[in-house]
Amino acid sequence: MRYLPLSDTDRSQMLQAVGAKSIDDLFVDVPKAARLDGLIEGLPLHASELAVERHMGALSKNNMVAGEVPFFLGCGAYRHHVPASVDHIIQRGEFLTSYTPYQPEIAQGTLQMLFEFQTQVARLFGCDIANASMYDGSTACWEAILMAGRVTRREKAILSSGLHPHYVSVCKTMAKFTGDALATGLPLLSAETDAEQMIAAIDDQTGAVVVQYPDILGRITDLTPIAEAAHSKGALLIAVVTEPVALGLIKAPGEMGADIVVGEGQSIGVGLQFGGPYVGLLACNDKFVRQMPGRLAGETVDAEGKRGFVLTLSTREQHIRREKATSNICTSSVLCALAFTAHLTLLGEKGLRQLASLNHARACEVADRLAAIPGVELVNSSFFNEFTLKLPVEARPAVHDMVEKGVLGGVSLGRLYPDTAALANGLVIAVTETVTDEDIGALDAALREVLR
């Protein structure tokens, strides 16, 4: 058992030192009725590294790998190239195998990195401050709604129909238990977003208006009028960004008046990983700092006056405030935050803008090409690297048919909104810098064939 350093000699010496005859003496407090005398049945015994690697390798092979086929999926998780140095940095043992920085004198690496991460997120989102990360975008979205409730003391939120349906589902689930009132609806397959309807729906009870930017169909809407309408009624605007690379090209929600901006940081540095772990981003204006959930790294000085960093404002948090905490969250997603910040540092402003432009240019090219297929209609008038097509047939079976041809050709709205006839023909296509000309040709051909 390669992970256990004690030898049998050590064990017997140590048992003797603690005054126990056998190991079972140390488990005397366990009620007899619940003690297992032998091994749990039905489970295999220990295995060598080689054997485990083989088993897991076989399971790994039984998947269609995004990087090995023409791949066009998005809708909340995006495939970007992650530089090799990013993965190297997150495998440094000093980052990988350290804990939450409770002892700041020996955790300055993590703390300074988080301070830099917070600064990058705040600037990217156009906000004053950001926290040290949340579980993922969907849980950050719900935490932002709660936070807005604490600020406004109102329990009603209006969710845009362009918000990712899984995010809506998370919020609805939680609101069922907290008693918050959520107004939601289904998106329409049209170029117009629901900005007008949202603005009309804001009333004096509304605490938060939640808008995804770009939205689930890829549409980009100006948040300024929504922010103004929300503020005029005393509500906060929460913007949700599931593809932060977009903000290298289009205005930040904070610049347009969003009070809280949350996001999914997966697309920078983290990778697809079948849905997790990802990294939730949460930024806001200075004045809301004490209502923020999650960890915060802050600057201070040490006993010699040297600059250093600590976790701060922990009087908001569960380990101090217990049932009065702003959230029950106890961890963040620090290693993913490290991947995010390291990748963004490598990109820099210049690289981020190039990457964003490249994504958009590529997406425009693919949109025009696919819209030329007879019967296929481009829904969006605006988009970043993701757009929605209206097919002449239901998109869900079409996606499966494309798999048969070795193409992962987007996310059908039938998958996201089952049993919704009005959306069944919608197909969301994401195009990143990883897509090659051959991939585009394969998608074009596959789609033409399945529509034939």
Partner: protein, 522 residues
């Protein structure tokens, strides 16, 4: 806006004893590192990307024209920046990390390799299910192990961390109570519980009441029984508890709670002490989260990501969240989502996160479980408990050990600063441990022990490592008892001396501002 490479360097105190000043502020391998914002430039990048032409016609007129303020670094500079930062961190890879309740055990590197296999790392959560059968099988295999090891009925895999798992368990309980038309308002939590327990109960809409511990560091069964009633929804117990002790009355507690119509939630943070030795299902537990980053060795990563699957009893399993993986009769795997939940899982309370949970942690945990097997996992618990008892008995002569007389501990040993000389307390011992090359233990938790020091060595420490730790603890404890005030200055040799946390909270500086901006803000 300019992002200024300001040439920042730390100030080395002029009057430092025995230490010559250096021009750079560095001390040999102790290398200082400026902030990214003091180092990088907006026009610097570490990637080679082509310039693409963008017309802007499809951006709703929302092009971002102003500077964002994100400096970049070339690859060599970036690697050096983070490598230098990394060296200011303590880590399990460097030495013993006896942070009680946190289970800082070795993180096997096979797990890292496995998690990076393309079939796991490079698949999208919304790929058609026929293209991710291997990934779904991983989730299903891990679920099978977790059920077998705990003797429970169902498992929710999607919670993202321990506290998220607690929330999942309590929402199952609330759903089950509401389904039987018996909503209740109160959750009982022992005083010794992790802060997440009361915070989660409040998050789930419950009023929290605490139940006292008895003198032996256990839940006071009689006090608990006296409080149970028709308003109590659940009792949240940590077992082994946060004093490192097994609750010997656990079965009686469960029976009393069930007799009162309530549910038993177990905080599974300490499952590593009993894995393979005791099955929580045999203790009458209804729901328990399992921190894969504790018991099953997935890396803590400086504070997440964690992963907190929740095992559920027969009574609660129907209410578990979506999505989950089901094995079909033909041997294929299926993701049960909202679409088909109506027929297959009609009582599900809903969805907790966008996708299916922490896949990258599932692959690591499964690799760990398969490596250890049924026999190895049992040995893990035994060695963890043996190591903790060895520390307890080796230090009880010099440190107050409040529960040493009540019998053996489980995976962690608790001490206090009782007996330290005037002016010295737990934090001083902890900071002196840093100078000795160890990470301190958990300090001032659990709250039921004044000046608590909770030491969890874990099973991946050798006897030699423990002996060295014990020797250091012995020496520091003697100094603290003798009133050696120099302990207040510790740590002396860490990258930083004690940091001013009060200042950080009073005038929060949470982001970098360029000097001219910072000045303007004042």
């Amino acid at each position: 806006m300019t992002v200024n490479p300001s040439g920042w360097r730390p100030t080395t105190p002029a009057n430092e004893e025995g230490g010559a000043q250096t021009v750079t502020g560095n001390r040999a391998l102790q290398l200082e590192e400026p902030l990214l914002f003091e180092r990088g430039r907006l026009d610097q990048t570490g990637v080679d990307l082509p310039d693409a032409k963008v017309s802007g016609q499809r951006l709703s007129g929302l092009q971002r024209n102003r500077d964002i303020g994100l400096p970049g670094l070339s690859e060599p500079e970036m690697v050096r920046h983070y490598t230098r930062l990394s060296r200011q961190n303590y880590a399990i890879d460097l030495g013993l990390f006896p942070l009680g309740s946190c289970t800082m055990k070795h993180n096997p590197r096979l797990n890292e390799k496995v998690a990076r296999m393309p079939g796991f790392a490079d698949v999208h959560p919304l790929q058609p299910q026929e293209t991710v059968q291997g990934a779904l099988q991983v989730i299903n295999e891990l679920a099978f192990w977790l059920l077998d090891l705990t003797g429970m009925h169902g498992v929710a895999m999607s919670p993202k961390a321990g506290a998220h798992g607690e929330l999942c368990g309590l929402l199952c309980i609330r759903s089950a109570l509401e389904a039987r038309g018996d909503p209740r308002e109160v959750v009982l939590v022992p005083e010794s519980a992790h802060g997440t327990n009361p915070a989660t109960a409040a998050f789930a809409g419950y009023r929290v009441e605490s139940i006292p511990a008895n003198k032996a560091g256990r839940v006071d069964l009689e006090a608990l029984k006296a409080r149970l009633g028709p308003d109590v929804a659940a009792v949240m117990i940590t077992n082994p508890n946060t004093c490192g002790l097994f609750e010997p009355d656990m079965i009686a507690i469960s029976q009393a709670v069930h007799a009162a119509g309530a549910f038993v939630y177990c905080d599974g943070a300490n499952f590593n002490a009993i894995v393979g030795k005791v099955r929580p299902g045999d203790l009458g537990i209804d729901a328990m989260h399992i921190n894969l980053h504790k018991t099953f060795s997935t890396p803590h990563g400086g504070g997440g990501p964690g992963s907190g699957p929740v095992v559920l009893s027969e009574a609660l399993a129907p209410f578990g969240p979506l999505p989950f993986v089901a094995r079909m009769p033909d041997g294929t795997y299926k993701l049960v989502e909202e679409e088909t939940a109506g027929e297959e899982h009609p009582d599900a309370f809903g969805r907790m996160t966008a996708f299916h949970g922490q896949m990258g942690m599932f692959t690591r945990a499964l690799a760990y479980i398969l490596s250890h097997g049924a026999d190895g996992l049992r040995q893990v618990a035994e060695d963890a408990v043996l190591n903790a008892n060895y520390v307890l008995r080796s230090l009880q002569d010099v440190l107050d050990a409040p529960f040493a007389k009540s019998g053996p501990c489980m995976h962690e040993a608790i001490f206090s600063d009782k007996g330290f000389a005037e002016g010295l307390s737990t934090i001083d011992l902890a900071k002196a441990l840093i100078d000795e090359g160890f990470h301190p233990m958990t300090m001032y938790f659990p709250l039921v022990v004044h000046g608590a020091m909770l030491v969890e060595p874990t099973e991946t420490e050798s006897k030699a490592a423990l002996d060295q730790f014990i020797a250091a603890m012995h020496s520091i404890a003697e100094r603290a008892k003798a009133g050696d005030q120099s302990l207040k200055a510790a740590p002396l040799y860490a990258p930083r001396r004690r940091l001013d946390e009060t200042l950080a909270a009073r005038k929060p500086v949470l982001v970098y501002r360029e000097p001219e901006q910072a000045k303007a803000a004042e």
